[in-house]
């Protein structure tokens, strides 16, 4: 063998795979369209349709709905990871990845790291639309960034769960429909769009149990108080917990996916 090679390690392999996923997105910018269009559309529709009914005006409704749609968008962006992993696994190129002398887990890890960009774009789209509609959080720009980062981290943690789903599912369509349902149920049965106290009793119980409610509350508090609250710490711990539990599970499922 006269080509100089060295044994690739996990970090360089993962970086290469993340680069590959970024290239794919650059060549097909439409992959980002869903995470841009969805928050913009929801923000405009919900803001102008329900603002008056729920909060007595669009401006008064924005502090409620912006964090709500931010997290809803994170959820759907994270769910995209699952179907992309499934599509990738079903394509011929994955056979080649597997036949290469590289770190076995790099294709999966690369995908999940490249997805951070997707989450970032989704977060910016949500927050920017809110700003365009007149949303001016009292906490200031710095805290908007902090809340955005917390949202992205939560979304990234969730993408591990969806990745596991993608690995276990039979095909990409199945992953997509399941993700869609999960996203709808979790985001609507929470405090994302309405104050929980207006709900019937049984719905209040569900909404209060829904983890999405806690994440949204934490983000609202950061933006309202301009401080790192107790709830925010809980959300962060919760996110780390998801990664600790689901990352090894996902890796295990990936290794046994034959």
């Amino acid at each position: 063998m006269d080509v100089q090679t060295h044994r690739g390690n996990l970090i360089t392999n993962t970086a290469t795979m993340a680069y590959r996923n970024l290239l794919k997105t650059i060549h097909n910018p439409d992959r980002f369209m869903d995470v841009i269009i969805q928050p913009v559309m929801f923000m405009l529709m919900f803001g102008y349709l329900f603002g008056g009914a729920i909060a007595g005006g669009v401006q008064a409704y924005l502090p409620t709905i912006v964090p709500g749609i931010l997290i809803q968008t994170m959820l759907s962006a994270a769910s995209g990871s699952g179907s992309q992993i499934r599509e990738d696994l079903d394509s011929g190129v994955f056979d080649r990845f597997k036949s290469l002398p590289m770190a076995h887990i790099a294709p999966l890890a690369g995908q999940l790291f490249a997805d951070i960009l997707r989450l970032l774009i989704a977060a910016v789209a949500s927050l920017a639309t809110g700003y365009a509609m007149g949303w001016r959080p009292t906490a200031g720009f710095g805290w908007v960034i902090v809340s955005g980062l917390l949202a992205i981290f939560t979304g990234w943690a969730l993408s591990w769960i969806f990745a596991l789903l993608g690995l276990m599912a039979k095909n990409a369509t199945m992953v997509q429909s399941f993700s869609m349902i999960t996203m709808m149920v979790l985001s609507f049965m929470s405090n994302a769009f309405i104050p929980i106290k207006t709900l019937p009793k049984f719905m209040q119980v569900i909404a209060n149990l829904n983890p999405v409610t806690y994440v949204i509350t934490a983000i609202r508090q950061i933006l309202a108080t301009g401080s790192w609250t107790h709830e925010a710490v809980l959300v962060l711990i919760f996110g780390i917990g998801i990664v600790i539990v689901f990352a090894p599970l996902t890796v295990w499922a990936y290794n046994h996916n034959n």
């Binding site: 080509v3 794919k24 060549h27 002398p101």
Partner: protein, 311 residues
């Protein structure tokens, strides 16, 4: 662990549920040869290849690549071969150059070396002009060339080709064959699966015929053909009245049964040298003949003879 063999396959077995896809298959591939896995659709060729290339775990048996076990020393074994899969195993969404760059990096080449190797391979496989185009615009032939180029990044001594010309037009297929012959000339060992008999005949030094997961026969194309039988002589007797006389005459000459279909006769020759006395005898008896053909058995005959197929 003989050095002479590039691959040793021992008692390889794979079950999918109750169905046995590959049933106790053993063979060795010598260094520098082109080894063909031939069989009808669903015979177990690709499954065998997938186990040889570490993509699939065998239920039983082992595969050694240059003496390294594909299970115990998977990563080392994987570094010794290149694989071109049945379906384009390149990335559809990125360009040819980017594919080569990324796979070079994943193969452990440095950034600079990857760039250089990508450029070299693009030239070698005449892909320079389309190097930065999206793969969606590539023809089937270009895609296969790129696919093969990616397999050759590390100049592996062993190359697996899974149905390298399935779905290609005749011209592109001939080009692919030329590329494969070039690789052989450079000393590579090649394992290819194919359902095309002419492809196996053209390229392979040795062929393993697989049917229903079992290895039915292994040998050189000539050996396989010999097994089916000798050369066949066919000719037509011009005048209907002379057919019976011709049959008698040929049967007497060869001491063999002559098959008759209307005015057409066919008989098996043990040696081609038996042809001259027959023709002389026919001429002396003033029996005029036409449409004379002497047929070597083709791999088609071997294939039909050895395999049952799914239907």
């Amino acid at each position: 662990m003989t050095k002479e063999y590039a691959i040793e396959v021992n008692h390889l077995t794979k079950r999918f549920g109750k169905k046995i896809a590959v049933d106790d298959v053993s063979f060795n591939v010598k260094q520098g040869e082109v080894f063909g896995l031939l069989g009808p659709n669903g015979a177990g060729k690709t499954t065998t290849l997938r186990m040889m290339t570490t993509l699939l775990k065998a239920n039983q048996g082992s595969v050694q690549i240059f003496g390294h076990d594909t299970v115990k020393e998977g990563r080392l074994a994987r570094s010794m071969f290149g694989l071109t899969g049945q379906y384009a195993s390149v990335d559809e969404d990125i360009s040819a150059r980017e594919n080569l760059l990324i796979f070079s990096r994943l193969n452990g080449l440095s950034r600079a070396a990857s760039k250089q190797r990508a450029t070299e391979l693009l030239q070698e496989f005449s892909l320079v002009e389309s190097a930065d185009k999206a793969l969606k615009d590539f023809s089937g032939g270009m895609r296969r060339r790129l696919d093969l180029a990616v397999s050759l990044i590390t100049r592996p001594a062993l190359i697996f080709l899974d149905e390298p010309t399935t779905g290609l037009d005749p011209r592109t297929r001939t080009q692919m064959w030329a590329t494969i012959r070039d690789l052989v000339a450079q000393g590579s060992t090649i394992v290819l699966t194919t359902q095309y008999l002419d492809e196996a005949d053209q390229l392979a030094d040795r062929i393993a015929v697989i049917d229903h997961g079992q290895l039915v026969k292994i040998g050189t194309p000539a050996e396989l053909k010999q097994q089916v039988g000798g050369t066949t002589l066919n000719f037509t007797v011009d005048q209907t009245g002379q057919v019976a006389a011709a049959v008698k005459l040929v049967a007497a000459q060869l001491k063999a049964t002559v098959k008759r279909t209307g005015q057409q006769l066919s008989v098996t020759l043990n040696q081609v040298s038996q042809l001259t006395p027959i023709l002389t005898a026919l001429q002396q008896a003033k029996i005029a003949i036409s449409h004379l053909t002497v047929q070597e058995p083709s791999l088609d005959d071997v294939f039909m003879d050895l395999t049952v197929g799914k239907n």
